[in-house]
Symmetry: D3
């Protein structure tokens, strides 16, 4: 069985019930998530062995975060304990013309203040096939960036395939800082996931004559961006979801993969959205699953985009779908007939 490790932050997510706004809420629904943690849960649901590396405080909130991963089969034995707090994010779910809103309260989280020597990467990567991280982790703090670099070096020393999801977050760092740090990390990356906006904000890479603010989908432009990423950093594959945001309730959803020579385009799904948080992570984990199990590129891409289409119908950060469910949708059954 293939083994995947991810490194990142897991946060307490507090979301208002139904479509309530924050100022209306008298209770919050609780779950725990974060880009890399979400990938572990999803890959564990597909049947892989996964291990999540982070640091959480020594209290029952930290323990609850760990438990949320164990519940779905993620190995949590290398999670460090200590620090001041677990990062939190507040979510209200939008609808129609009203966007979902996130308020972050993640400063001073344990993982942001973790040190390199708290983790034994040699043990962590023992027998591991794939390592995944996102651009959020090094953005958390200089310590976290250093920790990411250490992990990447250790991964490469063991010939582990490395993927990154660029995930630029403007509230965490400036474009300049992101470029500086991420450029240094890209040397270790084999598979790069990131949309046009990420590429421009993080690396200043963009297609000629494109205005990303318009939200139009251009396969050609994306291929140009992907080609530049491959040329600049020597990665093997570049992939991106292609989200068409009609409204907070309805999106078009497809994806593209470029291997340096050829672009692979997925089917497009018309989504009725239940919870779009974690949509990108479910794509990343779907793609990792496809690639680590050696599906052909087109199949891996279709698996990834079908997996993430399903994620949009599931409340919470994480994607609770089986491999068979994803394959059924990728194979064409999106009719939604009751499964008895």
């Amino acid at each position: 069985m293939k083994r995947v490790v991810t490194l990142g932050e897991i946060m307490l997510r507090l979301s208002t019930p139904g479509f309530e706004r924050f100022v209306q809420a008298d209770s919050f629904d609780v779950c725990y998530g974060g880009g890399e943690a979400n990938c572990c849960v999803s890959l564990s649901n597909y049947g892989l062995e996964t291990r999540f590396v982070t640091k959480v405080p020594k209290n029952d909130i930290g323990q609850s975060a760990v438990n949320s991963l164990r519940r779905y089969g993620v190995d949590t034995n290398f999670i460090a304990r200590g620090g001041d707090r677990l990062g939190i994010y507040f979510l209200e779910t939008g609808a129609s013309q009203r966007a979902s809103t996130v308020i972050y309260d993640r400063a001073h989280a344990a993982i942001a203040e973790a040190k390199v020597d708290e983790f034994n990467w040699d043990e962590i990567f023992d027998g591991v096939d794939w390592f995944h991280f996102t651009g959020i982790t090094p953005a958390l703090s200089d310590d976290a960036a250093e920790l990411t670099l250490a992990a990447l070096k250790a991964a490469k020393a063991k010939n582990i395939t490395v993927s990154v999801d660029l995930n630029y977050r403007k509230k965490l760092w400036s474009e300049a800082k992101a470029k500086e740090v991420m450029t240094g990390l890209m040397d270790y990356v084999d598979v790069c996931i990131g949309n046009e906006e990420d590429a421009e904000k993080v690396f200043g890479i963009k297609a000629a004559d494109t205005d990303i603010s318009k939200g139009e989908i251009s396969h050609g432009a994306y291929e140009e961006v992907a080609r530049q990423i491959i040329e600049k950093f020597g990665v093997k594959l570049v992939a991106s979801t292609l989200r068409e945001s009609y409204s907070a309730s309805d999106n078009g959803w497809s994806a593209i993969l470029f291997d340096g020579e050829k672009s692979y385009l997925s089917k497009k799904y018309e989504l009725r959205i239940v919870d779009r948080v974690g949509g990108g992570d479910s794509f990343a984990s779907g793609l990792i699953y496809g690639l680590v199990t050696e599906m052909p590129y087109q199949d891996a891409l279709e698996f990834a985009v079908a997996a993430s289409a399903l994620k949009h119908t599931i409340p919470g950060d994480t994607n609770h779908v089986s491999k068979d469910e994803v394959l059924a949708l990728a194979g064409g059954d999106g009719s939604g007939r009751v499964q008895r």
Copy 2:
């Protein structure tokens, strides 16, 4: 006032809240339902006198099932008590490309092990106008099939009109067994409800050049199927819903009725689905209502399809709409303007 009797299983339904998957749920919403029970509640809501016949265990779960029927006016005085358990089904409600999923835990239910002599059909059918059952009841067990046959004989002896909803369930019996048993029961049937898939699976009847797996709606093909059913079993009417499953959230919904000479087509509704379980039962009960109150065929069909369109907007198995609400929709008011 017209009187209708149905015979079948009533189950405890345990559904996850919102769009949660089973593995996420910390509570289940509770209701009680089953094809024939659902018809009784719906017909009672239209103002008819209804009586439901089943067997439930002598405990508070069984009693709760009975209470769920009494609450809406169904006569439960002929429900037998005893046996080991009430059947259960678990439901998670899908959305968009993710289908709703049902896990059945209905083996060894009291009704599946009930004996013919536990029911006094002479009393049960006293003053009754219509008897309805579905293909699920005889599929439960040989005892249940025998019970169904006894009921049909008693109904016919009193000149009660009989309807069946074929409802083929592959987890309950094989196509061969279904064909054998159902063929024996069809002699007593006046009105047969069933879609193309049911007809093929249960009777091996299909239209030439049709592939039901494609999900396309062909009125002509259905008429051909209906004609064969009439010819083979001598029933008077054959009807079917015509569901177009765009996704778990959106369906097209219409129906067709064939009287041996002419096909009646209903209006088609574009549905936003809240809960599609019981959709077929709400069509059956709508049709029974129309026919037993002697509406013209077209009106009865429009009543049935409008009734079941409304069911898709109501949580739970049963259809809580009044006759006036159905008539208003059938009459053209689907604008959804607030009723003040």
Copy 3:
């Protein structure tokens, strides 16, 4: 900062959870609202100073209504206490072809039996820029109509701009009574909000060759109606929302404003509806905000229609959106991308 006063009823709203029908409900969600109260909350959310005038009973249900206003910054110091009860309305939220249903239980409410001398309009209107009421208030009772007239006279004496939302409610009064009372009040009105149906039912004003029951949107017809209102009553502006009710789940939403010379048409939004109650009030408060802060007419109209588009996505009677959120949507961002 601009100051707005409204006068009207605030009711206890009891709504079934999810899409449950009344007969299914074991709990009700609680909020407090009413046309004029909703306007105050919304205007307070935009940053204005608002004051709501009503009467509530001296018990904790009345106090809870007051608290629901204070919570969002409305000045409640001029609310009278006494009388027998707070009006109640029951709501079940529809979907697809099933309309939302309201059951009113508002007779004998404290405000319906309040007397003119319970309110000191001189203090209430001190430093106030705008007074708003709806056709519901004078419809409550003869006392309430007298109270409304007293408020209007006091407002005019202070040169306060006055707006009315016609809001004809057939369960509260006849067309004849409405015409008689409302005609007497229109002398004091500067801005009249009302759709074609209101205009016809209250004033007998309609466009030639128009049948409002068809639900078609005709800008020309509405302009004709608006022109008649202006000519008859000397108001300065007439406005109306233009709702296209495709179903209880989906509506088209736009608006029109006529200043006696020119018609202004807003953008049109395609709405996925969470809760449409209070949609008209959110339009009225948006328009008042635009006008009282002296936006150009087109901008004020766009603000109003964007504000009310957002309201349809928020549970409860009141519109919890900020000025910036409305401006962002009016400015074109309805993509629903997550706001991080």
Copy 4:
């Protein structure tokens, strides 16, 4: 099987969840109840045939009240439909030193405005053994008092045993009015339930040297009161619960019955209270059950007090316990060991 009829009001009960106060509540738990309705449900739970007579409005709130009775087997066929509204009461549940609080909103209820000729007492009382009412019903209005009198006359004409629970409610009528009306009704009563406070407030009957405001339990004083009631009105039995209110969470609970010659005292239970509303009604229905099934007086009293002890542990107005559960407790098993 014995048949019991009761006449009275059924109200919508809206209670705050947990121990929330009204001003904190964002939802209300919903049930339907009232003294006489509660008795019917309880007696139905013991296996008797029961019939509840009232009037409810022709809307889904009225229907829900009816359904709440049907659910537990009460015959609702003689409930009149019409009028303006269903009475409502709001409840917050106290604890420790904080008492439960009730806000009534019951004026103008359909039953308060019902007329004598809306009920066919000849049919209602066909085959009936017992008729029960409380002092609340005639207190609702003059119409309701007249209706009560008509019912009593009809009951007596059929030799039906009649019981009353005095239940003085100071918000509904004055002591003088109560005395006048109730005195006229007592001629028809066989069994009178009422505590010392009721006796004093309604009839001016009290024991010498007793101060009911102290809350002390004196069997001797109660016997003196009971004797006066028997002497004055010729009833056969007088009974009362003896509540010792230590706090809102803990009560002592016993009862006394006087047959004109001898006082019967029950065991005393120390109660941990979940919901004490309906406690008196559960005593009345327990006593009626004991008497109508011809238990010896001591047994009937023990049944009644055990039944009502159990009611205090059940949320809602009505007592959902079986005859066997009551007998087990009356027989001595109050250990609370898990019943597996």
Copy 5:
């Protein structure tokens, strides 16, 4: 770190919210539990390595049961998959004089039909220090009894300490059958947990002149029973909780341990009960923890009884307390002051 294995059934528990009775419930709270599973979770919470052995169906209900164990750190890798269903039990929580009630629906559960060859005990017991089972497991079926015996033989072959909790369940087997089967299993047992009732029902062992139905606590009588168990079966230790059931809300709680020579008595706690299900299991797991970590007998007993006192305050089957919390209570801090 010490390793403990348990074998048994894990069931879906469906409990009514608050103090609702089954016939009132519209939702069930969901958790998963069973005697031996509960012990694993509790021991895992104390920091031990635990492994639970059972069989669950290959569906999402079975998976949810597994997840509920993984969530708290239990090794679930040796759980077999297959069979028809997961056992279910329904629970309503009592209060005061009303006992909690359990309805079992556990027949045909996967574990009851599991075969010996589905488990590799050699791997399961690798490096294990303690094996625990209860009398429920062999009572499930002959297959389950055979499976238990196989486990015991394998445990003994590896010199693993074995404990049993007798837990006689009259609905699962007769006293005769229990005696026959359990006697055969006792040869492998080192530590026997069971109260007087268990000892009498399973082995016919009782103290002279004692009537267990009275519920009185007699240390001397229990010692006599324990001595007989030791003499008959050669076990090293016998222990029992001593529950004084004042009511469903309040219990006295202590325990006794006998080592063949001396009786150890614990402190006694006066409990306010939140959820007493799993109380015995929390005692067993506390005792196992104390013994496997080589506490002196008195300390181990105090740990066990303090642990189980805390369990009574926690909803669900399982005991979520840390070692430190138990030690603090055993050490005397039961004041309930807020831990900040």
Copy 6:
């Protein structure tokens, strides 16, 4: 009407439902509270004018905290906006031997980093009669201590009466730091609330021969402590609650007040606890109410202890009781009889 100002932190409180432990929770109940904010709400509920001074972040979580105060009538116009976050605390409610547990996540809260010049004390204290703070506020940070001192100087300059609740929190500062800072603030204090533990930890003041860890109540010892506080700091009154923690469910509750000459002892209440958080704040606000409205000392003390007894029955941080309810309990009515 009297006016009271308080200064302090308001936090987001996230509590598990029912008696769930943190590791079980899938939702949190939301309220907002903090010692000084709780006092404002309570005093506002008694009818005083109150003003709360703090700083909250400019986001909807901060706004929700403000709204929670406005809802109950607190003036929030002087709350500063800005900073990084709102402090959070997590709460699980204990029962019986299991204590409630609080996890604080309050570092870096906006108020902890607020500067003196963000508040205009001259305006804040305009027309104010009383200023209250607790020892928590200066413990938050050096900035907060400086802010507290500035407020005290401004208050004294306007001859405003000042009260403090010592409230030592060991997680916020050391005893040494507390002593240093608090000693400097005591010069401005008129009324000092604090128990023996506070006095010892903050000032090193204790009675001879007393061991506070035993939890015994000694009026004499407390008088000795109070006398020392008065002598050392020149305050006029010293008061303390006297909590007897039998368990997390049951407490004895009384209080003592010393005026330098005489000790006043209150009645003692036996409490069944619903939510004890905020119990001390409800005592402080009750005492302030009594003193600011010039009740005699004994009456003020009885008011305070009755008020706080009631608080223990109300979920959330704040005390929602009216003046009349407190007076009724202080006057002797703790019987918990239903208030109809």
